[in-house]
Amino acid sequence: MKCIVCVKQVPDTSGVVAVKEDGTMDRAAMATITNHDDLAAVEAALRIKDATGCKVVVVSMGPPPAEGMLRELLAMGCDEAVLVSAREFGGSDTYATSQILAAAIKKIGVEDGDIVFCGRQAIDGDTAQVGPQIAEKLNLPQVSYVAEINVEGKDVTVKRLLEDGYMTIKVQTPCLLTCVKELNDARYMSVGGIMECYQKPLEVYNYETLKDDPLIDVTTIGLKGSPTNVYKSFSPPVKGAGMMMEGADKATVEKLVSILNDKHII
């Protein structure tokens, strides 16, 4: 058994969001972090490793500096890392990204008993599409919005976090789970883990590595293979301070109702 975890390095949106003149995001000007939902997926895999001793492989598609993030995940306890990186892959939307990641995961190899983990969605794109598309392309059963996991042999019982409640599902491995950050609190890197992380295997998959996979084709990868085109990125205008009303009396409530009515909210 092994766990394969897909991870994305994203801009740290808790700081300043830098936008270039052409409206696209200036990623180079922003600090980067590991996507929160993906960290929960890594932690979930590491907890399975703690319990079973299984191997954890992390895979990320991104530019060469994403190696830094992968080394940090190795320092947390992951065993191997794969960086999927090539000019041909640049500009991919969710469709093209999932083609490439699915091909990479196929190369790593999904066997009986394996679990593929993804974060629910990345904080930069917020689409929540890549995980489910990878599952489709790998022909794996998938469960999204996972907030609790119990592995017993080949059975995985998961709790899905939905807007109005939970749904409990039992699924058999091999499968793909997309995790929400509420699933757990990711562990810190350890001192020993950090000292070892540069000795652990990190393989780079470029276009040459993956080109023979039927999923990889100029019409299905990179900017050219992406059906989605980003028209513009911008920081939304700052909202006003709003209005505070205090009091539990009838007059205040009537005033509130009247304001909401005027704005066609109620």
């Binding site: 810190y188 890197m189 001192v191 950090i194 000292m195 992380c197």
Partner: protein, 386 residues
């Protein structure tokens, strides 16, 4: 000297910062107010390998270097001086002398448990009549008819004492006479366990700062320990103590450095928020110049501390470097934290903000593990000024 951090050191710094911010900072005020030893934090640090950072893996350490240890003490002390000194005393004053002077059996017995944090370590040199004058020891160790050592005496101001399982203790094992006929105490080092018969932990000191650090008296009344607990050669204890304190001073210098940096960070944040006379106080030149001076002094101290750490790592002589690092870092910490309280004004004097705590915590760095005056003695002696 190359002061570029390695990739691993950069990553360690990031981990220490995340840990300090999320796990240590939220408890710092509580630790101080309640004089509470942060046991849970120590367990978490131990799990991450922070209780044996620079010792080799074969002894259970994390296999990093001295600078990586220094950065851990620095980052914890930025937010909590108590947490910083717990790591420092454990690592520099207990693990280090066992690692540097212990037999293979002693190292294999104690280091894995100390490095994993299962056991906490402490060091007992100071006595009521032997502070700076470490030769004034009164504690004795005598061999009994079974070959065991019997220790009698007491130690004071022992950091980590209330929670430590292993103590490196110094005691007089004889008196020798030099060529001129002068009598000299022969001091030896021993490893004492908390559960040894006749050993007990006494009064807990109430302190001005680092209030969560457990500072107690140790009492040995016919404390019997086996012969194999002698650490290093008989009669070589004073040298072991002085060498251990050289390393310890790098740890305390790191604590002082962290306290200064932490106070500056808090003060920059505050002066950008606090408005007086219609301006943020960061816009006043006094604030700007004060913070510029403080930062420059702290950076200078940092170079001394890091340089001493790298010399220790490279097995170069570092006695004077450690003394200079501690002298400058400790005096900087005291000066900087005091000035930070002044920039905060009345609020700085209240316990609502952390700078008053940092000022109280900083003072001890000028006193323990060799006062600033002792550091000056070490430095001047190394310069041949006598």
């Amino acid at each position: 000297m190359d002061l570029h951090l390695s990739k691993e050191q950069e990553m360690l710094r990031k981990m220490y910062r995340d840990f300090a911010e999320n796990e240590v900072k939220p408890l710092a005020e509580w630790v101080d107010e309640n004089e509470a030893f942060p046991e849970e934090t120590v367990k978490k640090m131990a799990k991450l390998g922070m209780m044996g950072i620079y010792f080799p893996k074969e002894y259970g350490g994390a296999g990093a270097d001295v600078l990586s240890y220094v950065m851990a003490v620095e980052e914890m002390s930025k937010v909590c001086g108590t947490t910083g000194v717990i790591i420092s005393a454990h690592t520099s004053l207990c693990c280090a002398p066992i690692y540097e002077n212990g037999t293979e059996e002693q190292k294999m017995k104690y280091l894995p448990k100390l490095c994993s944090g299962e056991w906490i370590g402490a060091f007992g040199l100071t006595e009521p009549g032997a502070g700076t004058d470490a030769q004034g020891q009164q504690t004795t160790a005598v061999k009994d008819e079974n070959g065991n050592w019997v220790l009698n005496g007491s130690k004071i101001f022992i950091t980590n004492a209330g929670y430590a399982n292993v103590f490196v203790i110094f005691a007089i094992t004889g008196v020798s006479t030099d060529k001129r006929g002068r009598k000299k105490k022969e001091i030896s080092a021993f490893i004492v366990e908390r559960t040894d018969p006749g050993f007990s932990v006494g009064k807990h000191e109430k302190k001005m700062g680092i209030k969560g650090s457990s500072t107690c008296e140790l009492i040995m009344e016919d404390c019997v320990i086996p012969a194999d607990r002698l650490l290093g050669k008989q009669g070589k204890g004073f040298g072991i103590a002085m060498k251990t304190l050289d390393g310890g001073r790098i740890g305390i210098a790191s604590q002082a450095l962290g306290l200064a940096e932490g106070a500056i960070e808090e003060t920059i944040k505050y002066t950008k928020e606090r408005v007086q006379f219609g301006k943020r106080i960061s816009q006043f030149q006094n604030t700007q110049f004060q913070l510029a001076d403080m930062h420059a002094k702290t950076e200078a101290a940092k170079w001394l501390v890091y340089s001493a750490a790298m010399k220790k790592q490279n097995h170069e002589p570092y006695t004077m470097d450690a003394a200079m690092a501690k002298l400058v870092a400790a005096e900087t910490a005291s000066d900087v934290t005091r000035r930070c309280v002044q920039l905060f004004g009345g609020y700085g004097y209240t316990r609502e903000y952390p700078v008053e705590r940092m000022m109280r915590d900083a003072k001890i760095t000028e006193i323990y593990e060799g006062t600033s005056e002792v550091q000056r003695m070490v430095i001047s002696a190394n310069l041949g000024v006598n």
